[in-house]
Symmetry: C2
Subunit: 415 residues, 2 copies
């Protein structure tokens, strides 16, 4: 039994359990024992939808017969209970939907992925496919409660907007809360909170961003120049379609709130994964090189690099080090085959050897390597037959493949 | 019993418990049931100290007789067990020291604060007085394992260094790994990982920072110009003393890894607390104003503002909203009396009313208010007799106290 509890301790905070009164002002919540999570069924789901501003439904497999698995299931409920308690003043309902018992309800509500949490807000459904921990979930739901469009009113707020280079962002310039703004707002609700929408009614802010009236700019993460959405004024569907077409960025950061969704969205079965700690000078330098590579290749739909900052996932860091045989105190980049896991317990993977050099590779060297990955010259197959516990998969060497790559594409001059 | 488990669920990740094999590459660790945490006593503590690169000892109250409290105690052990497992390749030992049974060992090892975790590294002891969760602890210990001095070798790494404005940082320019560098390194070990030490052997990096040979600069968080440590070359003790004198910053960010230590370090029983979400345009703007205020008052030893980014503490956000009767979707600043908690369950607190304005206060207005706090014109006493569940403590109004504050101190022109 101990094992079950232990597997669940990731972000657990205990200190305050001992010393509650000592730290007035910093008390982590204790569950009060009150049941708040509903057992959703055909009789009560409509009422629940009506009653709350937000309704969060966890779509789960039937409760298992096995006692150990039952405990795990209870723990999921408890995460939801604690989340519900913490957010109890926010008018959010919580419920569980059984994929077998409540199959009709699930169909009516459009629940599809078992293990996902679905958030109903007005007429929209938002899927949460991230780390199911109370803190990630609370943060996510607080984001969902905010207005989907954030206003940019002055130069300082504009600076805040310009700093958010990790996020997909849209910004529109409107006269006021007219029908064009409303269309933008409706579109924003479809992507909240994953994609950030901003608007300004201020002429000088618009001028700074070179935005014409009723125009909308789309910022891909880490890109210096935005893309301008074609046509204006834009309808809700114009915006929705554009975002759907462009939402997989050339360089995307892995985040707890949608980590599994990102991981499932692989590129033909592989991920190019880069580990870089932004707070570390080495990691920062490598990340800047990655950004250069992404900027040079922003028009290549074949390329999407997943950037993982190990600082964001402390409990996974040593797991990655073990699984991929890496030193994550240093930046790393490699290819992980996420579909080919049947052959061994570990997803096949191969990493760029950067251990011999004092210096990190240049953007050009990295681009050559990525080209080799995309063309299949570097792949995880080579390594596949050798044992899993082999020392290091750094057999690949940039020198070997220093062929001329003169097929530079000239179509990346977007402005 | 359920209550006990529930109180511990803060950052808990469950999704992977259900769907382990589905997400190859993102598997959160499950405890393997192996005991790794030692019961430290007089017979084994010396051996433990010798055996590991790092030894982490949790100094705790005697195991309680009460069954519920016992469970809580076991949970603490389990956090340590999971941390030990996750870091098992890193040569770190873990142990528990009972403040009653092991009083002699505790005295010999210099353990003082019950509820703290002490990390022994070489001849140093590092106290961890932060959120006792597995992820915070793992991240902290990985930081302790890194070299205490980080080298800055080129312009890109220098940019990384310059971006870290939230941290206390020192940087020294040395010829190489000579005795002066060694003194700097020895000093760094005393503050690792709370205060960051950097060094460069590179002339152009030093020139960019206006560093002379064997000179050390001290960067207070959010300040534009560093202080130069007096004298050079510097001994270890010169550096240690300077850091100890200057380590309480005018504006300091609350962090999970030392949140209780920061909170205990109040200013005559009060904290000036500012809530601002850096990712939010409003929050960013307010934070920039705060930085201006901090820069203007960097030489005032009476002033230290604790900045809390609600995004860093999702589980505490609604607790703060309730306790202090605030809306944390907006930036806030107030005074919390942390010693005067006996009179009521809630620490007395009073907040600057910013709700009526579209605009945030200017740096000048904020400075006036802070002056009123420091002079006692704004204090938590006024509010004290009124009931806890009173609507809002925004009775204070900047207008009322718009007296002339012509005692501007001229000594803040440091350059």
């Amino acid at each position: 039994m101990q094992q079950i509890w232990l597997s669940l301790l990731s972000g657990l905070c205990l200190r305050l359990v001992f010393y509650c009164s000592a730290e007035e002002g910093l008390e982590f919540p204790n569950f009060d024992g009150k049941d708040r999570v509903l057992d959703i069924n055909e009789r009560n789901y409509k009422k629940a939808l009506k009653r709350y501003d937000l309704l969060c439904l966890f779509y789960h497999e039937p409760v298992p017969a096995n006692k150990g698995l039952q405990k795990r299931f209870q723990m999921t409920e408890l995460v939801l209970e604690l989340t519900a308690q913490v957010l109890e003043n926010k008018d959010i309902g919580f419920g569980m939907v059984d994929s077998q018992k409540d199959v009709k309800v699930a169909r009516k509500l459009g629940l599809e992925e078992v293990g996902s949490l679905y958030v109903f807000k007005d007429d929209r459904v938002i899927e949460f496919d991230g780390e199911l921990s109370a803190d990630t979930l609370v943060e996510f739901l607080l984001d969902v409660l905010e207005d989907p469009v954030e206003m940019i009113n002055n130069a300082m707020e504009l600076r805040a907007f310009e700093r958010m280079e990790e996020d997909i962002r849209l910004i529109g310039y409107f006269k006021g809360e007219d029908s064009y703004y409303k269309a933008f707002q409706e579109a924003s609700e479809r992507f909240q909170p994953y994609i950030k929408f901003f608007a300004t009614f201020d002429k000088s802010v618009a001028k700074h961003l070179s935005l014409k009236m009723n125009e909308v700019n789309f910022y891909e993460p880490f890109m210096e120049e935005p893309a301008i959405l074609p046509g204006r004024p834009l309808t809700e569907m114009d915006i929705v379609e554009f975002v759907n077409q462009h939402r997989r960025a050339t360089l995307r950061k892995l985040r707890a709130e949608n980590m599994f969704e990102t991981w499932e969205d692989d590129m033909d079965g592989i991920h190019i994964v880069a580990f870089a700690e932004e707070e570390d000078p080495d990691g920062y330098e490598f990340l800047e090189i990655l950004k250069d590579v992404a900027r040079d290749n922003t028009n290549n739909p074949e390329l999407s690099i997943v950037w993982i900052d190990p600082d964001d996932f402390p409990l996974l860091t040593t797991y990655w080090e073990k699984t991929f045989k890496l030193d994550l105190f240093r930046p790393q980049i490699g290819v992980v085959n996420v579909t080919d896991v049947s052959k061994s317990l570990t997803a096949p993977n191969v990493w760029l050897d950067m251990s011999n050099d004092e210096d990190l590779p240049t953007a050009e060297e990295l681009e050559d390597w990525i080209e080799d990955v995309l063309s299949g010259r570097v792949n995880t197959e080579d390594d596949d037959e050798s044992a899993d516990d082999q020392e290091n998969s750094d057999s690949y060497n940039t020198e070997d493949s220093d062929e001329s790559h003169d097929d530079d594409d000239d179509d990346d001059s977007d402005d």
